[in-house]
Every structure is written in structure tokens, then in C-alpha cells.
């Protein structure tokens, strides 16, 4: 394809066609050849093939934080607490039978379940729990922050206390994270596990699992596939249904082909447009994901004289056609009324979402005193979120705001470049999303002035005393009702005057074969393999 070639002629013109063909072939063979386990989805009936686009770095629970890693971790490692189905508003027992938060919110006491065993038959002890949690916290891996400043102690053989320096009512919601899975400390130590950054067990944990979960890890290849095997001695009430579960790394267009022809039984990441026109014998599960896509208008006047004007943010908020964005994102997506997604405690009711009001937007723009505004909208160009590309959303916003009289220049860039500008608070307008680290509203206090995301929008501490006071109150609130009220209050205030404009929660579309039962999308671990059954 060199421009210097002497006779490019028809050959050159054919190149794109050939390339497309070759790519399509490569994509197909990726789906087809790595399918040793699938037999048309029926005969063996005990093997389940799940297709997903891998985001997987390790299968070591203490280091994992990627969506695919959490699926694997959830299947192989039990945690102290868990969630029932997709309800994340209430933690339920798993390895711990009960939990109790002290009145000051600083101490969490857990009673361990008696009779729980690891896959090798040995019992789960309080020492295993202490070692597992200490290891995650002190190894300084990606999920270490979940337990930052939390002291783990064994009071007696069946009691564990977790002590935090400040009130930490979110802790019961953090414990179900598969990164905090309990490992068999004896076995892990034999293979180099230590509770400090010198830990050497990762390689071993990528080839075997030392958990008490319903499945065990047979093999892990972080770029192509993960094979899980049933833990026949599983201690819990939900016995594994499939003998073998294979997770394959397949790009979404191929996932659709595979699941349609019975080559796989579950396809995890289809876009709203891709789930249209599937054969009728497949089940389509469309659930709003926990990712909230939002727009930020930088408050730092050094970054932009225009967007730092609060009235300008109001004009943008009123100028966006939210229904139009939902149409792009496809069925199952919902508008985000506040920064906290619908399934988490303290989410705003759907009817409090912003509505389009072109006249109001024009009025706000006039009031702002900015004439003929031109702003740059930055976003990561190549990323898709639940199959939805941010590109389309950005182009739609540009068209919406043009009607209001705001000229938006789109500035897509590769995610690494875009992230830099975002994290350093240099974007005039930015289009991003926030996925919860754990399903608790306290994870959303980062949007307040002076906090992580607030600073990214140039919102410095002290910029809005009233919101900051409401945030402090929410952080310290104890008890579901009080917390809910406090977080609703924070979000109402954020919607009135913050630099953030929550847009939508795109739908997570999961397609399964008719034979698969029990699938529910989960905002933390996407899907719990142990929940899947067969007809």
C-alpha cells in the first residue's frame, strides 16, 4: 500500500476489500477454533461456554480488579458477605453468618459460618480470613484501596472484627467484592503468598485456585480463555450445575454469531444495536448497567472562561436531549437522574432527571453573559461502554447544543491521552463515566468539590460550602434510611449547581441460549456463574 509503489493500480484498490475479508476470517477463526468444549450447546449439557471481551490481568483475587477477573473470582472464591441475586442494597451472609456494625460505624463484627470448606476439603478458619484480607490490603495491588486503613483481627476462632479509623458504613457493601475472596492460607503460603508487596503467589494462583467457591480454576490464559471446573465438594447450599465453564475472549460481533449458532451459550457484551434481530430461541437480558455516563464542564477559569460560568453548565444541562441519547444507547438503558446509578442505595428517583428545555437553556446562556460560546469536548475515542461508543453520544451532544447556540468542537483522543487530561483537570468539557468500585453511595462522594472527580472538573475544595457540608453529613450517616436521605440531598444539590451533568446508564445486554436459566446481571461481578442453571 506504499505510496511509492510503482504499479499500485487495481491491486491497491482491492486492498481494503481483501483486508476486510481477512479480518472477518480472523475474527471467525478466533471464535471457532478456541471452542474445544462446546458441543452445540446441548448433548454434554454440563459444559457452559461464555463469550466475553476479556478485560483480565490476573486470576489472583488479591490483585484482580478487572470485570473478567471479577467473574472468575466470584466463581472460585467465596467472600465473607455477598449479595442476593442482583440486589446490591443489602449484603447477605456467605462465609460469615452475620455482621454487626457498631453505633459509631467504626467496628464491623462478623461471625464465621461453621463447616465451610475449601475445595481441597480443609476447613475455612479465622486465620485464613485474616491472612486473605491482610494480604489484599498490604500487597498494594489494585484492589488494596478497598481495605485502606481497615484493621483485621480475629477475636476468637469464629469471630472477626474489622476496625476503621473513621466511620465506615460502606464496609459491608465492600466485603462482597470478589477481590476480597478468602484463600486457603496454608496452601497459598506454600506457593509464596505473603501479606506484603513481596508476595509471589500470583503465578500459582493463575494456574489453580485455593478458594472455597462453587467452581475451581482449571486453567487461565489471560488473553484467550479461562476454564472453570465444578467444585464437587462445595460446602454451600447452591451446588454447581455445570461440570465445566469456559470463558472465551471473543469480540462482540463474533459473540453474536457464536451464540446465534449455538457455539456458545452466553454472550456478555452485545450492544443495543446488536441484540436486534437475534433468533427467537435466545433469551435477551437487558439491564441498566451501573456505569453512569456524565458530562463535566470545567469550573477552573484558567482552563476555560466559558465553562467555569455556572450558568453555562445550566444551559448545557437544559440543552441536552436525554431521550435522544437513550435512543442511541438502545433498549434497557435509562437516564441517570443523579450521579448514583439506579440500583444503589440513595439513587434519585427516575422522575427527578433533567429534562430538555431549549428555551430555558437559551435563557441561561443569555444570563451567563457568554456570547457565541465555543467549547472543546474531549472524550476517549476508541472505548465502548457496554457496547456503546462514546463517539455517537458526543456527536449527538454536539448537535443538541448547536440548537441552543453553543458551538462544540469534538476532540476525541486515544484513551491514554484523554485520561491524562481528564485526571489533571484540563478538559473544558469532558465526556466520561463512573462505574462503582463497590455498590455503596459513599463511592460517589468523589464528585464533591476537592475530591478526586471534583478536582478533575476544576472544582476545588471550598468552592461550594453547602454541598460539601451535605457530603460530610452523608459520609457520617448511619442506618439505611438516614443514609438514603442524605445521599438524595447531596445529589439534588449537585444537580442544581455542580459542574457535572449525569446523562445515562447504558444497558448491559446479555444473550443466553434457551437452555440457560438463572442469569442476572450484577453491577459488581457482571454475572455469577454459580447462579446459572440448565433446563
Amino acid at each position: 500500500m506504499a505510496i511509492r509503489s510503482r504499479r499500485p493500480r487495481a491491486k491497491a484498490a482491492l486492498l481494503p476489500v481483501l483486508l476486510t475479508g481477512a479480518l472477518a476470517l480472523a475474527a471467525c477463526s478466533n471464535g471457532g477454533s478456541s471452542a474445544p468444549a462446546s458441543q452445540g450447546g446441548g448433548t454434554a449439557a454440563k459444559t457452559l461456554v461464555i463469550d466475553t471481551s476479556f478485560n483480565l490481568k490476573t486470576a489472583d483475587p488479591g490483585r484482580t480488579y478487572e470485570p473478567t477477573g471479577l467473574i472468575v473470582g466470584k466463581a472460585a472464591y467465596d467472600t465473607l458477605l455477598t449479595f442476593d441475586g442482583s440486589d446490591v442494597t443489602k449484603p447477605v451472609p456467605s462465609l460469615a453468618d452475620s455482621y454487626e456494625l457498631s453505633a459509631d460505624g467504626k467496628t464491623l463484627t462478623l461471625k464465621l459460618h461453621q463447616g465451610a470448606t475449601f475445595a481441597d476439603g480443609s476447613p475455612v478458619t479465622a486465620d485464613d480470613v485474616v491472612f486473605s484480607l491482610d494480604r489484599v490490603r498490604d500487597m498494594k495491588g489494585t484492589p488494596s484501596f478497598l481495605l485502606d486503613g481497615v484493621k483485621v483481627e480475629k477475636t476468637d476462632e469464629t469471630t472477626i472484627t474489622l476496625t476503621s479509623k473513621t466511620a465506615n458504613p460502606a464496609l459491608p457493601y465492600i466485603l462482597p467484592n470478589p477481590a476480597l475472596g478468602i484463600i486457603n492460607s496454608k496452601l497459598a503460603k506454600e506457593h509464596g503468598a505473603t501479606a506484603d508487596p513481596g508476595d509471589k503467589a500470583e503465578q500459582y494462583l493463575n494456574s489453580a485456585s485455593v478458594g472455597s467457591g462453587p467452581y475451581t480454576i482449571e486453567s487461565v490464559n489471560i488473553s484467550s480463555q479461562v476454564v472453570l471446573k465444578a467444585n464437587t465438594k462445595y460446602w454451600g447450599p447452591k451446588k454447581p450445575v455445570y461440570d465445566k465453564v469456559v470463558l472465551r475472549n471473543v469480540e462482540s460481533a463474533t459473540q453474536k454469531l457464536n451464540v446465534a449458532r449455538g457455539d456458545s451459550q452466553v454472550a456478555l457484551d452485545l450492544s443495543g444495536d446488536q441484540v436486534k434481530g437475534l433468533p427467537g430461541n435466545l433469551q435477551v437480558n437487558k439491564t441498566p448497567s451501573a456505569n453512569v455516563v456524565f458530562l463535566l464542564a470545567n469550573r477552573n477559569s484558567a482552563v476555560s472562561e466559558t465553562t467555569s460560568n455556572p450558568k453555562f453548565a445550566e444551559a448545557v444541562r437544559k440543552g441536552i436531549d436525554y431521550t435522544g441519547l437513550l435512543e442511541l444507547a438502545g433498549e434497557g438503558s435509562v437516564q441517570a437522574p443523579g450521579v448514583i446509578p439506579s440500583m444503589i442505595l440513595g439513587a434519585l428517583p427516575a422522575d427527578q432527571g433533567a429534562k430538555r428545555d431549549v428555551e430555558g437553556a437559551k435563557a441561561a446562556l443569555k444570563e451567563s453573559g457568554v456570547t457565541d460560546p465555543k467549547v472543546k469536548l474531549e472524550y476517549p475515542s476508541e472505548l465502548t461502554l457496554n457496547g456503546l461508543s462514546l463517539q455517537g453520544i458526543a456527536e449527538r451532544i454536539q448537535a443538541n447544543l448547536k440548537e441552543v447556540g453553543i458551538t462544540v468542537e469534538l476532540a476525541p483522543s486515544p484513551v491514554t491521552t484523554a485520561l491524562d487530561n481528564y485526571r489533571n483537570g484540563k478538559e473544558e468539557l469532558g465526556l466520561w463515566w463512573w462505574g462503582p468500585d463497590y455498590p455503596d453511595p459513599s463511592d460517589y462522594l468523589v464528585f464533591l468539590p476537592g475530591k478526586t472527580v471534583g478536582l478533575r472538573a476544576g472544582w476545588k475544595a471550598g468552592a461550594d460550602k453547602e454541598i460539601e457540608a451535605a457530603g460530610d453529613k452523608a459520609a457520617a450517616a448511619i442506618g439505611d434510611d438516614a443514609r438514603k436521605q442524605a445521599y438524595v440531598d447531596v445529589q439534588t444539590k449537585l444537580n442544581a449547581s455542580s459542574p457535572f451533568i449525569p446523562l445515562i446508564q447504558p444497558s448491559q445486554n446479555i444473550v443466553t441460549a434457551a437452555s440457560v436459566t438463572g442469569l442476572e446481571f450484577h453491577p459488581v461481578w457482571t454475572v455469577d456463574v454459580a447462579d446459572l442453571g440448565t433446563k
Binding site: 500500500m1 505510496i3 463517539q391 456527536e395 469534538l410
Partner: protein
């Protein structure tokens, strides 16, 4: 008026007709296009049909109109790009060939350096370093395109430089510049013109390739490469990527046909074959 024999070839006529058609579309797009290429007011991902003959894209924009407006971006930029490559490459190559010695060494070694990199990768690096925009993409392609002209021009100038008429010009006291312009240039334009025409296709491919990778046209401008890229996301809706792809295909083919014809016409060795094939 009768066309010269060399142009009465089937491929030449097809190429000429298609190229002229695209030029007309590029010039008259605002009159021909049925919709505003940026208006998002049609149903999303509608298949080709009445009202939108090429279908609509993810945002409900008319693809026919976008393809037509795309010609206004791609074709002029490609022509400009090739013209610039000829100018820069030709000038440097002529200097290298005419003056020889250190000028030759410096320029040609630099050209070799550029040749040593894979074209597309080097263009990507340059475009990425400069930031994504069509102007920068043109600059990036220019960086990788000029050495071909420099090398060809140098070779041609070397061949002409020692001919009697050039030497006699020098003896009459022509300056180097005048000698190049008056004696050398007219004798080397033919081959360079052929190379340039053949290159239009490759230049367009490279330019849309950069846009495809997100290093060229900025959204929402209807650039063909960027349109193909957005079509890849919705593989099931084949029309989104197919029509801009066909636009690229036809333009590249047309200019390649024209380039071939031009070469045949200018090359005395192929003259007889042409006579036999002429319509």
C-alpha cells in the same frame, strides 16, 4: 474533435467518466445532496430505501448525503497532497540530481531514511504526534510521499544533465535555476506526471486510512475513512460502511486507470499495442 488514440481505451474511458463524475459531485454536493450531511433527523440505522437511498447511520444521518459531501473533503485534499508531494519531492530530487556531490548525498540519504520505515506506520506516527486533524493527516502523508518523487526526479535529471543541449545552455552562461527550468524540466515532466496520477489512488487510501484510525478527519465531518470506521461498529447494518467504502474504491480505481492510460500514452514503446487496442 477526436480523442487521441491512447485515450480511446475502455479502461481510460471508464476511469475518465468516473473521475469526472466524482469531481462534479464534489463541486455540486450542496445542490445534489438530498439532506444536510450533519442533521440527525432521520430514523437510526434505516436500511437503504426511498428517502435515504444509501440508508442512515447510527445517529440518523443520511449516508448518501454524507458520501457526497465526503467527496468535497477527500478529493481536493488528495489532489493537493499529491501536488505538494510532486513539488517538494521534485524540487529536492532535481537539486540532488543536478548539483550532485554533497547535495545529492544529503537529500538522497534522507530520502532513504524515510523509505526505511513502513509507510503507513510512519504516517501514523507523524499524524499522532501532530494531533488528529485532516490538515495534519495531509502533512503526515506528505512526509512519507515525497521521497518517491525525489528519487525518480533525481534519476531523470541525472540522465538529462549531461546531454548536449543542457551543457550548451550552461556554456552560454545560464544560471543553474534557468538551466533546470528551461532545459531539464520539460524533458522530465512526462514520467513524473504518470507517477503522480498513479499515486492519487494510494494517497487517498492512505488519507482515509488515517481517518479510519481516528488520526485524520474530526467528527462529525463526513470523511469516507471515518465513515467506514463508524460502520465497523455496526457490522449488521452493512450499508453504513459499504457505501463510503465503495466511494473510496471507485475513486482509487478511476485514477489508477487514468494513470495507466497516461503512462501508455507517453511511452513510445507501448505505442503500437495501443493502436491495436484502440476503440
Amino acid at each position: 474533435m477526436k480523442l487521441p488514440q491512447a485515450w480511446r481505451q475502455p479502461l481510460a474511458i471508464v476511469g475518465g467518466v468516473v473521475a469526472v463524475a466524482w469531481l462534479v459531485i464534489a463541486v455540486a454536493a450542496p445542490l445534489l445532496a438530498p439532506h444536510d450531511p450533519l442533521a440527525q433527523d432521520l430514523p437510526r440505522l434505516a436500511p437503504p430505501g426511498p428517502g435515504h437511498w444509501f440508508g442512515t447511520d447510527q445517529l440518523g444521518r443520511d449516508i448518501l448525503s454524507r458520501v457526497m459531501y465526503g467527496a468535497r473533503l477527500s478529493i481536493p485534499l488528495t489532489l493537493l497532497l499529491v501536488a505538494l508531494s510532486v513539488l517538494v519531492g521534485g524540487l529536492l530530487g532535481a537539486c540532488a540530481g543536478y548539483f550532485g556531490k554533497w547535495a545529492d548525498e544529503t537529500i538522497m540519504r534522507f530520502a532513504d531514511l524515510v523509505f526505511a520505515f513502513p509507510t503507513v506506520i510512519l504516517a501514523m506516527v507523524v499524524a499522532a504526534a501532530l494531533g488528529a486533524s485532516l490538515a495534519n493527516a495531509v502533512l503526515a502523508v506528505l512526509v512519507v510521499a515525497w521521497p518517491a518523487y525525489a528519487r525518480v526526479t533525481r534519476g531523470l535529471v541525472l540522465g538529462v544533465r549531461e546531454r548536449e543541449f543542457v551543457i550548451s545552455g550552461r556554456l552560454l552562461g545560464f544560471s543553474a535555476w534557468r538551466s533546470l527550468r528551461v532545459d531539464v524540466l520539460p524533458n522530465i515532466t512526462g514520467p513524473i506526471l504518470v507517477l503522480a496520477t498513479l499515486d492519487i489512488g494510494t494517497a487517498l487510501l492512505l488519507l482515509s486510512g488515517l481517518s479510519f484510525l481516528g488520526l485524520g478527519a474530526k467528527p462529525p465531518s463526513p470523511e469516507w475513512g471515518a465513515m467506514v470506521a463508524s460502520g465497523v461498529e455496526v457490522f449488521d447494518s452493512w450499508w453504513v460502511a459499504t457505501f463510503p467504502g465503495l466511494a473510496i474504491l471507485t475513486v482509487v480505481l478511476a485514477f489508477n486507470f487514468l494513470g495507466d492510460t497516461l503512462r501508455d500514452a507517453l511511452d513510445p514503446r507501448t505505442a503500437r499495442a495501443i493502436k491495436e487496442r484502440a476503440l
